[in-house]
Amino acid sequence: MTVKVEVIEGGVPHDKIMIAGLVSSLVCIYLTYVNVLTQTEMFSFFGGIAAVAALIWGSNTIKVLCSYGIGTGVPSAGMMAFGSGVIAMLFATKFGILAPIVALILAAIIGAVLGYLANNVLNMKIPTMIRSLTEMSIVGALSLMGFAALTCGGFTFADLTTNVISIFGIALPSYQATFIAGGAIAVAFLLGAIAIQHPFNACLGPGWTQDRMLTLTAECGFISMVVCAIMSFALISVSSAVISLIVALIGWVFTYHQYFVLSKRDAAAWLDAKPIPDVEGH
Protein backbone atom coordinates (compact mmCIF):
# COMPACT_ATOMS: atom_id res chain seq x y z
CA MET A 1 0.00 0.00 0.00
CA THR A 2 1.53 3.32 -0.97
CA VAL A 3 1.13 6.28 1.34
CA LYS A 4 1.83 9.83 0.27
CA VAL A 5 4.88 11.17 2.08
CA GLU A 6 4.83 14.85 3.02
CA VAL A 7 7.59 15.50 5.54
CA ILE A 8 8.44 19.11 6.26
CA GLU A 9 11.86 19.88 4.82
CA GLY A 10 14.33 22.70 4.89
CA GLY A 11 16.63 24.56 7.20
CA VAL A 12 19.76 23.73 9.13
CA PRO A 13 20.29 19.95 9.51
CA HIS A 14 19.16 18.55 12.83
CA ASP A 15 22.59 17.15 13.75
CA LYS A 16 24.16 20.60 13.66
CA ILE A 17 21.45 22.02 15.88
CA MET A 18 21.84 19.10 18.26
CA ILE A 19 25.58 19.57 18.68
CA ALA A 20 25.30 23.35 18.96
CA GLY A 21 22.51 23.10 21.52
CA LEU A 22 24.23 20.42 23.59
CA VAL A 23 27.60 22.17 23.72
CA SER A 24 26.28 25.67 24.43
CA SER A 25 23.89 24.37 27.07
CA LEU A 26 26.61 22.48 28.93
CA VAL A 27 29.04 25.40 28.68
CA CYS A 28 26.49 27.87 30.04
CA ILE A 29 25.52 25.59 32.93
CA TYR A 30 29.18 25.27 33.86
CA LEU A 31 29.55 29.04 33.65
CA THR A 32 27.10 29.29 36.55
CA TYR A 33 29.68 27.35 38.56
CA VAL A 34 31.76 30.54 38.49
CA ASN A 35 29.34 31.58 41.25
CA VAL A 36 31.03 29.08 43.53
CA LEU A 37 34.53 30.18 42.51
CA THR A 38 33.83 33.86 43.05
CA GLN A 39 31.48 33.43 46.03
CA THR A 40 28.74 35.53 44.41
CA GLU A 41 25.49 34.77 42.66
CA MET A 42 25.93 37.16 39.75
CA PHE A 43 26.50 34.54 37.08
CA SER A 44 23.19 32.75 37.62
CA PHE A 45 21.78 34.17 34.40
CA PHE A 46 23.91 31.75 32.42
CA GLY A 47 21.55 29.06 33.64
CA GLY A 48 18.71 30.74 31.76
CA ILE A 49 20.80 30.96 28.59
CA ALA A 50 21.64 27.27 28.95
CA ALA A 51 17.94 26.48 29.14
CA VAL A 52 17.23 28.57 26.01
CA ALA A 53 19.96 26.73 24.09
CA ALA A 54 18.66 23.33 25.19
CA LEU A 55 15.08 24.29 24.32
CA ILE A 56 16.10 25.37 20.81
CA TRP A 57 17.64 21.95 20.27
CA GLY A 58 14.62 20.23 21.82
CA SER A 59 12.05 22.00 19.67
CA ASN A 60 13.82 20.87 16.52
CA THR A 61 13.82 17.32 17.87
CA ILE A 62 10.09 17.53 18.44
CA LYS A 63 9.69 18.72 14.87
CA VAL A 64 11.65 15.70 13.62
CA LEU A 65 9.61 13.29 15.76
CA CYS A 66 6.15 14.70 15.25
CA SER A 67 6.55 15.02 11.50
CA TYR A 68 5.87 11.28 11.39
CA GLY A 69 2.34 11.62 12.68
CA ILE A 70 2.50 9.86 16.03
CA GLY A 71 -1.22 10.22 16.49
CA THR A 72 -1.35 11.84 19.89
CA GLY A 73 -0.31 15.37 19.24
CA VAL A 74 2.65 17.48 20.13
CA PRO A 75 2.10 18.44 23.80
CA SER A 76 2.43 14.83 24.97
CA ALA A 77 5.97 14.71 23.62
CA GLY A 78 6.89 17.74 25.69
CA MET A 79 5.44 16.16 28.82
CA MET A 80 7.37 12.96 28.12
CA ALA A 81 10.61 14.92 27.71
CA PHE A 82 10.30 16.72 30.99
CA GLY A 83 8.76 13.83 32.90
CA SER A 84 11.84 11.74 32.18
CA GLY A 85 14.21 14.71 32.38
CA VAL A 86 13.19 15.79 35.89
CA ILE A 87 14.02 12.36 37.30
CA ALA A 88 17.48 12.35 35.72
CA MET A 89 18.18 15.95 36.74
CA LEU A 90 17.26 15.47 40.40
CA PHE A 91 19.49 12.40 40.69
CA ALA A 92 22.38 14.16 38.97
CA THR A 93 22.37 17.11 41.35
CA LYS A 94 23.98 14.88 43.97
CA PHE A 95 27.24 14.73 42.05
CA GLY A 96 28.51 18.26 42.68
CA ILE A 97 30.49 19.69 39.79
CA LEU A 98 29.88 16.62 37.63
CA ALA A 99 26.11 17.11 37.81
CA PRO A 100 25.51 18.26 34.19
CA ILE A 101 27.51 15.36 32.74
CA VAL A 102 25.74 12.83 34.95
CA ALA A 103 22.39 14.38 33.99
CA LEU A 104 23.32 14.04 30.32
CA ILE A 105 24.27 10.37 30.60
CA LEU A 106 21.41 9.32 32.85
CA ALA A 107 18.80 11.21 30.81
CA ALA A 108 20.15 9.56 27.68
CA ILE A 109 19.75 6.13 29.27
CA ILE A 110 16.21 6.84 30.47
CA GLY A 111 15.23 8.36 27.13
CA ALA A 112 16.66 5.45 25.16
CA VAL A 113 14.81 2.91 27.30
CA LEU A 114 11.55 4.85 26.97
CA GLY A 115 12.13 5.13 23.24
CA TYR A 116 12.69 1.40 22.91
CA LEU A 117 9.57 0.68 24.95
CA ALA A 118 7.46 3.08 22.92
CA ASN A 119 8.80 2.02 19.55
CA ASN A 120 9.06 -1.74 19.93
CA VAL A 121 6.86 -2.87 22.80
CA LEU A 122 4.08 -0.46 21.88
CA ASN A 123 4.71 -1.15 18.21
CA MET A 124 4.83 2.44 17.04
CA LYS A 125 7.60 1.70 14.52
CA ILE A 126 8.68 5.27 13.92
CA PRO A 127 12.23 5.52 12.49
CA THR A 128 13.55 8.27 14.75
CA MET A 129 11.60 7.38 17.90
CA ILE A 130 14.44 6.06 20.08
CA ARG A 131 16.88 8.77 19.09
CA SER A 132 14.28 11.53 19.45
CA LEU A 133 13.12 10.41 22.89
CA THR A 134 16.75 10.15 24.03
CA GLU A 135 17.45 13.68 22.83
CA MET A 136 14.25 15.03 24.37
CA SER A 137 15.06 13.47 27.71
CA ILE A 138 18.51 15.09 27.70
CA VAL A 139 16.96 18.42 26.73
CA GLY A 140 14.49 18.11 29.60
CA ALA A 141 17.21 17.39 32.13
CA LEU A 142 19.54 20.15 30.91
CA SER A 143 16.89 22.87 30.69
CA LEU A 144 15.61 22.01 34.17
CA MET A 145 19.15 22.22 35.45
CA GLY A 146 19.53 25.57 33.71
CA PHE A 147 16.34 26.93 35.25
CA ALA A 148 17.42 25.61 38.66
CA ALA A 149 20.81 27.31 38.35
CA LEU A 150 19.11 30.53 37.28
CA THR A 151 16.68 30.50 40.18
CA CYS A 152 18.89 29.45 43.07
CA GLY A 153 22.45 30.16 41.92
CA GLY A 154 23.79 26.63 41.58
CA PHE A 155 22.98 23.15 40.36
CA THR A 156 24.00 20.93 43.24
CA PHE A 157 21.59 19.21 45.62
CA ALA A 158 22.62 21.54 48.45
CA ASP A 159 21.82 24.63 46.36
CA LEU A 160 18.38 23.30 45.54
CA THR A 161 17.39 22.30 49.04
CA THR A 162 19.00 24.79 51.40
CA ASN A 163 18.76 28.50 51.63
CA VAL A 164 20.09 31.03 54.11
CA ILE A 165 17.46 33.35 55.52
CA SER A 166 18.04 36.02 58.09
CA ILE A 167 15.73 36.36 61.04
CA PHE A 168 16.38 39.44 63.13
CA GLY A 169 19.79 39.77 61.50
CA ILE A 170 20.94 36.22 62.28
CA ALA A 171 21.61 34.01 59.27
CA LEU A 172 19.86 30.64 59.62
CA PRO A 173 19.69 27.70 57.22
CA SER A 174 16.20 27.04 56.01
CA TYR A 175 14.77 24.17 54.09
CA GLN A 176 11.35 25.67 53.59
CA ALA A 177 11.97 28.53 51.16
CA THR A 178 14.03 26.66 48.60
CA PHE A 179 13.75 25.65 44.98
CA ILE A 180 12.54 22.15 45.77
CA ALA A 181 10.66 22.57 49.04
CA GLY A 182 8.90 25.72 47.85
CA GLY A 183 7.74 23.91 44.75
CA ALA A 184 9.49 26.20 42.25
CA ILE A 185 10.71 23.06 40.51
CA ALA A 186 7.11 22.45 39.44
CA VAL A 187 7.08 25.88 37.79
CA ALA A 188 10.33 25.17 35.94
CA PHE A 189 8.99 21.75 34.92
CA LEU A 190 5.87 23.16 33.28
CA LEU A 191 7.60 26.21 31.81
CA GLY A 192 9.97 23.92 30.00
CA ALA A 193 7.34 21.35 29.02
CA ILE A 194 5.18 23.99 27.31
CA ALA A 195 8.13 25.93 25.90
CA ILE A 196 9.62 22.88 24.19
CA GLN A 197 6.46 21.89 22.32
CA HIS A 198 4.90 25.28 21.66
CA PRO A 199 7.17 26.36 18.77
CA PHE A 200 6.47 23.34 16.60
CA ASN A 201 2.80 23.24 17.62
CA ALA A 202 2.34 26.95 16.84
CA CYS A 203 4.25 26.97 13.54
CA LEU A 204 2.58 23.80 12.31
CA GLY A 205 1.35 23.90 8.76
CA PRO A 206 2.45 23.76 5.14
CA GLY A 207 4.23 27.10 5.44
CA TRP A 208 6.52 25.97 8.27
CA THR A 209 9.97 27.58 8.18
CA GLN A 210 12.76 26.61 10.51
CA ASP A 211 14.13 30.04 11.34
CA ARG A 212 10.69 31.24 12.43
CA MET A 213 10.21 28.18 14.65
CA LEU A 214 13.63 28.50 16.27
CA THR A 215 13.12 32.23 16.88
CA LEU A 216 9.86 31.34 18.61
CA THR A 217 11.73 28.78 20.74
CA ALA A 218 14.20 31.42 21.82
CA GLU A 219 11.30 33.73 22.67
CA CYS A 220 9.58 31.02 24.74
CA GLY A 221 12.85 30.25 26.45
CA PHE A 222 13.43 33.91 27.33
CA ILE A 223 9.95 34.44 28.70
CA SER A 224 10.42 31.34 30.86
CA MET A 225 13.71 32.90 31.95
CA VAL A 226 11.85 36.10 32.89
CA VAL A 227 9.49 34.14 35.14
CA CYS A 228 12.31 32.19 36.80
CA ALA A 229 14.26 35.43 37.28
CA ILE A 230 11.26 36.94 39.08
CA MET A 231 11.11 33.85 41.29
CA SER A 232 14.84 34.07 41.97
CA PHE A 233 14.32 37.32 43.87
CA ALA A 234 13.28 35.13 46.80
CA LEU A 235 16.30 32.87 46.65
CA ILE A 236 19.38 34.83 45.58
CA SER A 237 20.64 38.33 46.22
CA VAL A 238 18.62 41.21 44.77
CA SER A 239 21.42 42.50 42.54
CA SER A 240 22.00 39.10 40.92
CA ALA A 241 18.30 38.65 40.37
CA VAL A 242 18.10 42.09 38.74
CA ILE A 243 20.93 41.12 36.36
CA SER A 244 19.10 37.90 35.42
CA LEU A 245 15.85 39.80 34.92
CA ILE A 246 17.44 42.45 32.70
CA VAL A 247 19.23 39.85 30.55
CA ALA A 248 16.00 37.86 30.21
CA LEU A 249 13.90 40.92 29.33
CA ILE A 250 16.37 42.11 26.70
CA GLY A 251 16.49 38.63 25.18
CA TRP A 252 12.71 38.34 25.20
CA VAL A 253 12.00 41.72 23.62
CA PHE A 254 14.54 41.06 20.89
CA THR A 255 13.31 37.57 19.98
CA TYR A 256 9.64 38.59 20.22
CA HIS A 257 10.24 41.47 17.79
CA GLN A 258 12.21 39.14 15.49
CA TYR A 259 9.33 36.68 15.54
CA PHE A 260 6.91 39.38 14.41
CA VAL A 261 9.27 40.32 11.58
CA LEU A 262 9.57 36.71 10.41
CA SER A 263 5.82 36.10 10.66
CA LYS A 264 5.19 39.17 8.54
CA ARG A 265 7.66 37.79 6.02
CA ASP A 266 5.93 34.41 5.83
CA ALA A 267 2.27 35.42 6.05
CA ALA A 268 -0.02 35.50 3.02
CA ALA A 269 -1.11 39.03 3.89
CA TRP A 270 -0.79 41.35 6.88
CA LEU A 271 -4.16 43.06 7.10
CA ASP A 272 -5.56 45.50 9.62
CA ALA A 273 -9.37 45.56 9.88
CA LYS A 274 -10.06 44.25 6.42
CA PRO A 275 -12.83 41.81 5.41
CA ILE A 276 -12.38 38.17 4.50
CA PRO A 277 -10.86 38.01 1.01
CA ASP A 278 -12.61 36.04 -1.72
CA VAL A 279 -10.87 32.71 -2.18
CA GLU A 280 -12.16 30.49 -4.96
CA GLY A 281 -15.68 31.76 -4.52
CA HIS A 282 -16.16 30.39 -0.99
Binding site: L190, G205, P206, G207, E219, A234, A267, A268
Partner: protein, 300 residues
Protein backbone atom coordinates in the same frame (compact mmCIF):
# COMPACT_ATOMS: atom_id res chain seq x y z
CA UNK B 1 -16.33 21.61 66.20
CA UNK B 2 -15.04 25.08 65.50
CA UNK B 3 -12.37 23.78 63.19
CA UNK B 4 -15.00 21.88 61.19
CA UNK B 5 -17.13 25.00 60.83
CA UNK B 6 -14.05 26.93 59.72
CA UNK B 7 -13.24 24.14 57.31
CA UNK B 8 -16.75 24.15 55.85
CA UNK B 9 -16.60 27.92 55.41
CA UNK B 10 -13.32 27.69 53.53
CA UNK B 11 -14.69 24.79 51.48
CA UNK B 12 -17.73 26.82 50.47
CA UNK B 13 -15.51 29.72 49.47
CA UNK B 14 -13.24 27.49 47.39
CA UNK B 15 -16.25 25.89 45.72
CA UNK B 16 -17.57 29.31 44.70
CA UNK B 17 -14.15 30.43 43.44
CA UNK B 18 -13.75 27.20 41.52
CA UNK B 19 -17.11 27.72 39.80
CA UNK B 20 -16.05 31.19 38.67
CA UNK B 21 -12.70 29.79 37.54
CA UNK B 22 -14.35 27.08 35.47
CA UNK B 23 -16.70 29.51 33.73
CA UNK B 24 -13.90 31.98 33.01
CA UNK B 25 -11.62 29.21 31.75
CA UNK B 26 -14.14 27.93 29.25
CA UNK B 27 -14.97 31.43 28.04
CA UNK B 28 -11.30 32.24 27.61
CA UNK B 29 -10.51 29.08 25.72
CA UNK B 30 -13.48 29.61 23.41
CA UNK B 31 -12.62 33.24 22.68
CA UNK B 32 -9.17 32.10 21.78
CA UNK B 33 -10.39 28.88 20.19
CA UNK B 34 -8.05 26.58 22.04
CA UNK B 35 -7.97 22.83 22.29
CA UNK B 36 -9.64 20.22 20.13
CA UNK B 37 -12.15 22.53 18.36
CA UNK B 38 -9.15 24.49 17.14
CA UNK B 39 -8.41 21.75 14.66
CA UNK B 40 -11.41 23.02 12.68
CA UNK B 41 -10.13 26.59 12.74
CA UNK B 42 -6.86 25.21 11.39
CA UNK B 43 -8.59 23.01 8.80
CA UNK B 44 -11.00 25.60 7.41
CA UNK B 45 -8.52 27.61 5.29
CA UNK B 46 -7.12 24.37 3.87
CA UNK B 47 -10.61 23.57 2.57
CA UNK B 48 -10.91 27.06 1.13
CA UNK B 49 -12.86 28.69 3.98
CA UNK B 50 -10.77 31.71 4.99
CA UNK B 51 -11.93 33.18 8.30
CA UNK B 52 -11.35 35.82 10.98
CA UNK B 53 -11.26 33.53 14.03
CA UNK B 54 -8.44 33.70 16.56
CA UNK B 55 -6.32 30.56 16.16
CA UNK B 56 -4.81 30.09 19.61
CA UNK B 57 -2.91 26.84 19.41
CA UNK B 58 -1.16 26.72 22.79
CA UNK B 59 -1.08 23.00 23.58
CA UNK B 60 -4.44 21.88 24.95
CA UNK B 61 -6.31 23.46 27.85
CA UNK B 62 -5.09 21.10 30.61
CA UNK B 63 -1.33 21.62 30.12
CA UNK B 64 -1.77 25.31 29.28
CA UNK B 65 -3.83 26.02 32.40
CA UNK B 66 -1.49 23.87 34.46
CA UNK B 67 1.29 26.21 33.35
CA UNK B 68 -0.57 29.48 33.99
CA UNK B 69 -1.78 28.40 37.44
CA UNK B 70 1.57 26.90 38.48
CA UNK B 71 3.30 30.03 37.22
CA UNK B 72 0.92 32.29 39.13
CA UNK B 73 1.29 30.16 42.24
CA UNK B 74 5.08 30.00 41.91
CA UNK B 75 5.54 33.76 41.56
CA UNK B 76 3.02 34.27 44.40
CA UNK B 77 5.04 31.87 46.53
CA UNK B 78 8.24 33.78 45.73
CA UNK B 79 6.64 37.06 46.78
CA UNK B 80 5.24 35.49 49.94
CA UNK B 81 8.72 34.17 50.77
CA UNK B 82 9.86 37.81 50.54
CA UNK B 83 7.33 38.63 53.27
CA UNK B 84 4.88 40.36 50.94
CA UNK B 85 1.21 40.24 51.93
CA UNK B 86 -0.40 37.04 50.52
CA UNK B 87 -3.26 38.79 48.73
CA UNK B 88 -0.88 41.20 46.99
CA UNK B 89 1.48 38.31 46.21
CA UNK B 90 -1.31 36.31 44.55
CA UNK B 91 -2.42 39.33 42.50
CA UNK B 92 1.13 40.01 41.32
CA UNK B 93 1.68 36.35 40.54
CA UNK B 94 -1.48 36.22 38.46
CA UNK B 95 -0.51 39.37 36.59
CA UNK B 96 2.76 37.73 35.56
CA UNK B 97 0.93 34.54 34.60
CA UNK B 98 -1.61 36.46 32.50
CA UNK B 99 1.17 38.36 30.75
CA UNK B 100 2.86 35.09 29.80
CA UNK B 101 -0.49 33.71 28.64
CA UNK B 102 -1.06 36.73 26.41
CA UNK B 103 2.39 36.39 24.87
CA UNK B 104 1.84 32.70 24.13
CA UNK B 105 -1.57 33.48 22.60
CA UNK B 106 -0.14 36.05 20.19
CA UNK B 107 2.75 33.84 19.10
CA UNK B 108 0.39 30.93 18.52
CA UNK B 109 -1.94 32.99 16.32
CA UNK B 110 0.92 34.43 14.27
CA UNK B 111 2.64 31.09 13.90
CA UNK B 112 -0.35 29.06 12.77
CA UNK B 113 -1.71 31.75 10.45
CA UNK B 114 1.65 32.48 8.85
CA UNK B 115 2.07 28.78 8.17
CA UNK B 116 -1.26 28.75 6.32
CA UNK B 117 -0.02 31.33 3.83
CA UNK B 118 -0.29 28.80 1.01
CA UNK B 119 -4.10 28.85 1.33
CA UNK B 120 -4.37 32.61 1.35
CA UNK B 121 -5.30 32.98 5.02
CA UNK B 122 -4.15 36.48 5.99
CA UNK B 123 -2.86 37.57 9.39
CA UNK B 124 -5.40 40.06 10.79
CA UNK B 125 -3.58 42.43 13.09
CA UNK B 126 -6.85 43.94 14.33
CA UNK B 127 -7.90 40.50 15.61
CA UNK B 128 -4.58 40.23 17.42
CA UNK B 129 -5.10 43.64 18.98
CA UNK B 130 -8.70 43.12 20.04
CA UNK B 131 -8.81 39.45 21.06
CA UNK B 132 -5.60 39.26 23.04
CA UNK B 133 -6.63 41.64 25.79
CA UNK B 134 -10.06 40.06 26.15
CA UNK B 135 -8.67 36.55 26.40
CA UNK B 136 -6.08 37.78 28.92
CA UNK B 137 -8.83 39.32 31.03
CA UNK B 138 -10.80 36.08 31.24
CA UNK B 139 -7.61 34.15 31.87
CA UNK B 140 -6.77 36.44 34.78
CA UNK B 141 -10.12 35.66 36.41
CA UNK B 142 -9.61 31.93 35.98
CA UNK B 143 -5.98 31.96 37.15
CA UNK B 144 -6.64 34.26 40.10
CA UNK B 145 -9.56 32.18 41.33
CA UNK B 146 -7.59 28.95 41.00
CA UNK B 147 -4.46 30.28 42.71
CA UNK B 148 -6.62 31.64 45.54
CA UNK B 149 -8.23 28.20 45.89
CA UNK B 150 -4.76 26.66 46.10
CA UNK B 151 -3.63 29.21 48.68
CA UNK B 152 -6.72 28.55 50.81
CA UNK B 153 -6.18 24.80 50.60
CA UNK B 154 -2.54 25.21 51.55
CA UNK B 155 -2.75 27.74 54.36
CA UNK B 156 -6.28 27.47 55.76
CA UNK B 157 -6.96 23.77 55.32
CA UNK B 158 -3.41 22.56 55.85
CA UNK B 159 -2.63 20.47 52.78
CA UNK B 160 1.02 19.34 52.75
CA UNK B 161 1.73 20.27 49.12
CA UNK B 162 3.44 23.63 48.52
CA UNK B 163 1.59 26.30 46.57
CA UNK B 164 3.09 25.72 43.08
CA UNK B 165 2.47 21.97 43.27
CA UNK B 166 -1.16 22.62 44.20
CA UNK B 167 -1.29 25.07 41.30
CA UNK B 168 -0.13 22.28 38.98
CA UNK B 169 -2.74 19.82 40.28
CA UNK B 170 -5.69 22.18 40.19
CA UNK B 171 -4.64 23.99 37.03
CA UNK B 172 -4.49 20.65 35.22
CA UNK B 173 -7.84 19.59 36.67
CA UNK B 174 -9.36 22.98 35.73
CA UNK B 175 -8.19 22.62 32.15
CA UNK B 176 -9.37 19.01 31.93
CA UNK B 177 -12.83 19.76 33.37
CA UNK B 178 -13.34 22.94 31.35
CA UNK B 179 -12.05 21.33 28.18
CA UNK B 180 -14.17 18.18 28.50
CA UNK B 181 -17.36 20.12 29.20
CA UNK B 182 -16.92 23.16 27.01
CA UNK B 183 -15.27 21.80 23.86
CA UNK B 184 -18.24 19.97 22.27
CA UNK B 185 -20.51 22.95 22.95
CA UNK B 186 -18.15 25.33 21.17
CA UNK B 187 -17.15 22.89 18.45
CA UNK B 188 -20.55 21.67 17.38
CA UNK B 189 -22.96 24.42 18.42
CA UNK B 190 -20.94 27.49 17.54
CA UNK B 191 -18.42 26.55 14.89
CA UNK B 192 -21.03 24.53 13.01
CA UNK B 193 -24.04 26.64 13.87
CA UNK B 194 -25.30 26.27 10.31
CA UNK B 195 -25.65 22.49 10.67
CA UNK B 196 -28.90 20.98 11.90
CA UNK B 197 -29.44 21.19 15.64
CA UNK B 198 -29.64 17.93 17.49
CA UNK B 199 -27.18 15.86 15.49
CA UNK B 200 -23.43 15.55 15.23
CA UNK B 201 -21.53 17.18 12.37
CA UNK B 202 -21.26 14.81 9.41
CA UNK B 203 -17.68 14.09 8.44
CA UNK B 204 -18.27 15.50 4.97
CA UNK B 205 -18.88 18.97 6.42
CA UNK B 206 -15.47 19.19 8.13
CA UNK B 207 -13.85 22.56 7.71
CA UNK B 208 -17.02 24.42 6.73
CA UNK B 209 -17.18 26.50 9.89
CA UNK B 210 -19.42 29.54 10.24
CA UNK B 211 -17.56 32.62 9.08
CA UNK B 212 -20.39 35.05 8.32
CA UNK B 213 -22.77 35.42 11.22
CA UNK B 214 -25.27 37.64 13.01
CA UNK B 215 -23.77 40.96 11.97
CA UNK B 216 -21.06 40.62 9.37
CA UNK B 217 -17.99 38.44 9.67
CA UNK B 218 -17.87 36.19 12.73
CA UNK B 219 -15.47 37.36 15.35
CA UNK B 220 -14.09 35.39 18.27
CA UNK B 221 -15.46 37.96 20.75
CA UNK B 222 -18.99 36.81 19.88
CA UNK B 223 -17.98 33.32 20.95
CA UNK B 224 -17.48 34.64 24.47
CA UNK B 225 -21.11 35.78 24.75
CA UNK B 226 -22.26 32.50 23.30
CA UNK B 227 -20.18 30.42 25.68
CA UNK B 228 -21.53 32.11 28.76
CA UNK B 229 -25.06 31.07 27.84
CA UNK B 230 -24.45 27.38 28.54
CA UNK B 231 -20.94 26.02 28.12
CA UNK B 232 -19.31 28.44 30.53
CA UNK B 233 -21.89 27.80 33.23
CA UNK B 234 -21.63 24.04 32.73
CA UNK B 235 -17.84 24.11 32.99
CA UNK B 236 -18.09 26.26 36.08
CA UNK B 237 -20.52 23.85 37.73
CA UNK B 238 -18.32 20.92 36.77
CA UNK B 239 -15.11 22.31 38.25
CA UNK B 240 -16.93 23.83 41.21
CA UNK B 241 -18.50 20.47 42.05
CA UNK B 242 -15.14 18.73 41.74
CA UNK B 243 -13.35 21.09 44.11
CA UNK B 244 -16.24 21.48 46.55
CA UNK B 245 -17.13 17.81 46.89
CA UNK B 246 -13.51 16.71 47.15
CA UNK B 247 -12.82 19.18 49.93
CA UNK B 248 -16.20 18.77 51.64
CA UNK B 249 -16.01 15.01 52.05
CA UNK B 250 -12.47 15.28 53.39
CA UNK B 251 -13.05 18.15 55.83
CA UNK B 252 -16.18 16.69 57.40
CA UNK B 253 -15.71 12.95 57.19
CA UNK B 254 -11.97 12.48 57.49
CA UNK B 255 -12.12 11.91 61.24
CA UNK B 256 -15.13 9.62 61.02
CA UNK B 257 -14.33 5.92 61.07
CA UNK B 258 -10.53 6.41 60.95
CA UNK B 259 -10.64 7.70 57.40
CA UNK B 260 -13.20 5.22 56.08
CA UNK B 261 -15.92 7.84 56.47
CA UNK B 262 -14.53 9.99 53.68
CA UNK B 263 -14.06 6.96 51.45
CA UNK B 264 -17.60 5.71 51.92
CA UNK B 265 -19.01 9.17 51.28
CA UNK B 266 -16.89 9.35 48.13
CA UNK B 267 -18.23 6.02 46.89
CA UNK B 268 -21.77 7.18 47.60
CA UNK B 269 -21.14 10.37 45.63
CA UNK B 270 -19.81 8.39 42.65
CA UNK B 271 -22.94 6.24 42.75
CA UNK B 272 -25.16 9.32 42.85
CA UNK B 273 -23.46 10.75 39.78
CA UNK B 274 -23.67 7.41 37.99
CA UNK B 275 -27.40 7.25 38.60
CA UNK B 276 -27.80 10.86 37.49
CA UNK B 277 -25.86 10.13 34.30
CA UNK B 278 -27.96 7.07 33.56
CA UNK B 279 -31.11 9.16 34.09
CA UNK B 280 -29.85 11.78 31.64
CA UNK B 281 -28.98 9.15 29.06
CA UNK B 282 -32.37 7.44 29.31
CA UNK B 283 -34.17 10.81 29.26
CA UNK B 284 -32.43 11.68 26.01
CA UNK B 285 -33.26 8.38 24.37
CA UNK B 286 -36.90 8.58 25.40
CA UNK B 287 -37.49 12.25 24.61
CA UNK B 288 -35.40 12.70 21.52
CA UNK B 289 -36.05 9.34 19.99
CA UNK B 290 -33.85 7.57 17.47
CA UNK B 291 -32.66 9.17 14.24
CA UNK B 292 -33.70 6.20 12.15
CA UNK B 293 -35.76 3.09 12.63
CA UNK B 294 -33.99 0.50 14.80
CA UNK B 295 -31.80 -1.76 12.69
CA UNK B 296 -33.41 -5.21 12.52
CA UNK B 297 -31.53 -8.43 13.10
CA UNK B 298 -30.20 -10.00 9.93
CA UNK B 299 -30.08 -6.80 7.89
CA UNK B 300 -26.82 -4.87 7.36
Amino acid sequence: MESIVFGIGITALTGALATVAGAAEDTESNIGSQGDPNSQVQLAPQMGYVHRIFNKAVAGEPPAYALWCTLGAGVAWAFMAMQINPVLAIVLGCIVATFVQGVYATTAYLGRTASLAKFGQPVYIDILKSMTTVTMAHAFIAIFATVTVCHLINSALGHPFPLPLLGLVWGLALGAAGSATGNPYYGKERQYQNQKFGAGVPIAASGNIVRYAEAGERNSLDNGYFTQKFGGAASGICFGLIVFLELWRTVIFEKVGAGWGAIIVGILMILVFTIADRFIEVWARRNYGPYTKPVEEGSS
